[in-house]
C-alpha cells in the first residue's frame, strides 16, 4: 500500500470523544468547537458507581459513558454517523486501509494502554479512547490524537492490539465517521434540548449516586472514611482525584468545558444571562480544583488528613452546581 496522507487539521482538545467529533465535523466543513460538541451532546454528569470497579476502586464519572458524545451530538444536530465493528482484527485493519485509500479520515475507539506513542506513565487500561487516523506512512498510521499536543504515529501491530482488546467497553475495532452533515444545523434548538436534558439529569435523577445527589453521597462517604484505614483512604482519594483530573477533562471534571459551552450558547441564543451562569459554574469548577489539590496533598502527607474538610468542599461543589442547574432550567424553558 502506497503512503497516504489526507490533509487534516490537528488541534489539541481537552477530551478525546468531543475532540474527535469536533475535528471530524470540521473536516467535513461544519465549524463546531469542542465545548459546543460537549454541550449539545449533554455529556456532563456526575456518577458514583460503587459496583463497577477500576483497579479495585469504584467508578467515578464526570461525563456520560463512552459514545454518549457521538450519539447525543448526532441525534440533536441531525448528523448521520457510519459505524463499523469487526469480529476479526485483520478484517478491521484491512477496512481501515480501504477507508484511507478512499481518502476518508475515520475515528477509532482504542485502548490507551497499547498505543505506542502514549507516554508510558500515562498508559492505563481504558478501552474507550478516541482518535482520528488520517494516513499511513511506511507501516505506521498517522494519527491525530485529540489529547496529544502534536501529530503522532502508531505502528500497525500496536494499533491492532489497541483496537481489539477484550473486556469492559471492548472497542471491537469500532471505526466511525459522519456520513452526512447538515449545512445549517439548528443550534439554538439543539442547545435548548441539551441543557434541559442535562440539567434534568443532574437535578432529578431519582438515584442517590447520580448528579448533585451523587456528589452529596460521595461527600458523606468521605466523611465516613475510618481513620484506621489510612492506606485505603489514600488510595480512594487518589483514585477520585485521578478520575476527576486525569487526561482529558479540561479541568475540574469537565466543569470548565461546560462553562465554555454556556458562553457560546449565550451568544447563539441571545441570552446574555448564560454568561453569568457560566461564571457561577466556573466558581464550582474552581472549588472542585481546590478539593483535588487538598485531597492530593493529604494523600502525600503534605497536609494532615482531614476528611471533614474534604467532605465540606464537596458539599460546596454540590451546592454551587445545584444553583447553576436550577437557574439554567429557569432560563431555558421547554419549547
Amino acid at each position: 500500500m502506497p503512503d497516504i496522507e489526507i490533509p487534516f487539521d490537528h488541534r489539541q482538545t481537552a477530551h478525546c470523544e468531543s475532540g474527535v467529533m469536533s475535528s471530524l465535523l470540521r473536516h467535513q466543513g461544519l465549524q463546531i468547537s469542542e465545548p459546543m460538541t460537549f454541550g449539545v451532546s449533554a455529556a456532563l454528569t456526575f456518577a458514583y458507581i460503587p459496583f463497577v470497579k477500576f483497579g479495585g476502586m469504584p467508578l467515578f464519572a464526570y461525563r456520560m459513558p463512552p459514545k454518549a458524545v457521538i450519539k447525543g451530538l448526532s441525534k440533536r444536530l441531525g448528523i448521520k454517523m457510519h459505524y463499523e465493528t469487526y469480529g476479526r482484527p485483520d478484517e478491521g485493519m484491512a477496512a481501515l486501509d480501504r477507508h484511507l485509500e478512499a481518502g476518508r479520515v475515520v475515528g477509532l475507539q482504542t485502548s490507551v494502554y497499547w498505543l505506542s506513542y502514549f507516554p508510558p506513565d500515562m498508559r492505563f487500561h481504558f478501552n474507550a479512547h478516541n482518535l482520528v487516523v488520517y494516513g499511513k506512512r511506511g507501516g505506521n498510521y498517522l494519527i491525530s490524537d485529540p489529547v496529544i499536543d502534536v501529530r503522532v504515529e502508531c505502528d500497525a501491530e500496536s494499533l491492532k492490539k489497541a483496537r481489539f482488546v477484550r473486556g469492559a467497553l471492548a472497542p471491537k475495532g469500532l471505526l466511525y465517521y459522519p456520513e452526512s452533515v447538515p449545512a445549517q444545523p439548528d443550534y439554538a434548538g439543539a442547545i435548548r434540548k441539551a441543557i434541559r436534558y442535562n440539567t434534568g439529569m443532574m437535578l432529578h435523577t431519582p438515584l442517590p449516586i447520580i448528579g448533585v445527589w451523587g456528589i452529596r453521597t460521595v461527600a458523606r462517604k468521605i466523611r465516613g472514611l475510618k481513620a484506621a484505614k489510612a492506606k485505603h483512604n489514600r488510595l480512594f482519594l487518589g483514585h477520585l482525584v485521578r478520575m476527576q483530573e486525569e487526561i482529558g477533562t479540561g479541568g475540574a471534571g469537565f466543569r470548565f468545558l461546560y462553562a465554555s459551552f454556556l458562553q457560546e450558547a449565550a451568544a447563539i441564543l441571545g441570552q446574555p444571562v448564560l454568561t453569568d451562569i457560566a461564571a457561577q459554574l466556573t466558581a464550582a469548577g474552581d472549588e472542585w480544583r481546590r478539593f483535588a489539590l487538598s485531597a492530593a496533598k493529604m494523600c502525600k502527607d503534605r497536609m494532615a488528613m482531614d476528611t471533614d474538610q474534604l467532605a465540606d468542599q464537596l458539599l460546596e461543589c454540590a451546592k454551587l452546581e445545584e444553583a447553576v442547574y436550577r437557574r439554567l432550567r429557569a432560563e431555558i424553558k421547554p419549547s
Partner: protein, 134 residues
C-alpha cells in the same frame, strides 16, 4: 480558572508534552490553555503507578521463593489486576486466581497459555519466564 492560574509544574509523566485545559482570559472568555502539569495530578498518578510497581515487586519476591508465579508478575507489570486479566483473557476470575498459583500456568494446554500471552501482549516464551526485575 484564569489563564494565569493554569498550573505549569512540568510533570515527568508527560515527557515534555502538555495537556489542554479550559481557562478564562482577562475578559473572562474561555479558551484552551496548554498545561505542563499539575502537582495534584502528579501526586495521584505517581501513587497509582507505585501501587502496581509494589504489587509486581512483591509478586516477584514470592515467585522466587516458589510461592508465586510469573503470570502474576506479568499481570501487575501490565497494570492489570485479576478482574482485568480475566476480562481481557476471557477466563473467569476464579480460573485466573487458580492459574496464578505456582506451576499452574505451565500445566495449561498451549491454547490456554496463548490466551494469556495475547491478553498480556507477550510471547509464549516470555509468558512462562520470570522477569529479572519487577
Amino acid at each position: 480558572m484564569k489563564n494565569e492560574e493554569v498550573p505549569q509544574q512540568a510533570a515527568k509523566a508527560f515527557l515534555g508534552h502538555s495537556k489542554a485545559l479550559y481557562a478564562q482570559d482577562a475578559t473572562g472568555h474561555y479558551g484552551i490553555v496548554p498545561s505542563a502539569g499539575w502537582e495534584a495530578e502528579e501526586i495521584v498518578l505517581d501513587q497509582a503507578i507505585a501501587e502496581y510497581d509494589l504489587a509486581a515487586a512483591e509478586a516477584l519476591e514470592r515467585a522466587r521463593r516458589g510461592q508465586g508465579s510469573a503470570l502474576e508478575v506479568h499481570m501487575w507489570r501490565r497494570r492489570m489486576d485479576v478482574l482485568l486479566l480475566a476480562q481481557s483473557s476471557g477466563f473467569f476470575q476464579w480460573q485466573v486466581r487458580r492459574h496464578l498459583r505456582p506451576g499452574a500456568l505451565e500445566a495449561l494446554p498451549l491454547s490456554k497459555q496463548q490466551r494469556y500471552a495475547e491478553a498480556l501482549g507477550l510471547s509464549l516464551d516470555a509468558l512462562v519466564r520470570l522477569p529479572q526485575e519487577a
